[in-house]
Symmetry: C2
Subunit: 138 residues, 2 copies
């Protein structure tokens, strides 16, 4: 299945999500780990669409999500910075999910500079993450 | 906001729905009315996307759906046959929603021939509608 960029934008406007998790992590000097994640969730009957997204972006995994739902999921700074962020910079989302994306992008750029390993940076990321979760409809 | 065809396909693959309702209607000779409907539901914060769909297709209405959700909705044989069906014939849906669309299209073509006003036609449409609803994930 070949996907066109605009189809992906429309599908992600509908079904995609950008999320920043912040977990306690005793092995990290700062005590917390920042976990940015891009996901597209879909009923298992449409798993082939999730695999097509994986092929298109050249990164991420397709895994079981919850019950009969599957998720295409991209984690990891490098995959997000090299594949996901540039795509949505070039092809703008049309719904309010674009606002979520810009916050997500901001967190990734801070991580690229290592700011998530500083106390001030972590506080700022926590604020942005809280805004993103407040804005989420589902 | 200008929409591209492939964005619409991706968005409808995610958020759109094709539905055939069959209601009792004492004024109809056959006793039932067939009500095909194309909808795209969205949180009210993204109402501008629904208006952009309405402009693109040149038919339908944007109305409150349920709680804080809005719907773009196209009813009526002529609008569906002239605007919605040809669009998705030309631009194929990529998820299993394409199967739902083809059943929906079949009902509309039967209605175009007046078969929904015959007993056999109505029975057949009822079968197709039941299959569509069984296939629905949400």
């Amino acid at each position: 299945m070949n996907l066109e960029a605009q189809w992906i934008v429309g599908f992600v406007d509908g079904e995609g999500g950008f999320h920043v998790g912040i977990n306690k992590h005793p092995d990290m000097k700062i005590g917390y780990q920042v976990l940015p994640e891009f996901t597209v969730v879909q009923h298992e009957r449409d798993i082939q669409v999730l695999h097509a997204l994986k092929s298109y972006f050249g990164c991420g995994v397709v895994r079981s999500n919850h019950g009969d739902r599957m998720a295409y999921r991209v984690r990891g700074q490098q995959h997000l910075l090299q594949h996901i962020i540039p795509f949505f910079e070039k092809h703008k989302l049309k719904t309010k999910k674009g606002i979520e994306f810009r916050k997500f992008r901001r967190v990734l750029l801070m991580m690229q500079e290592g700011l998530h390993l500083t106390e001030d940076g972590l506080l700022k990321i926590r604020e942005i993450a809280a805004e993103m979760n407040r804005g989420a409809v589902r």
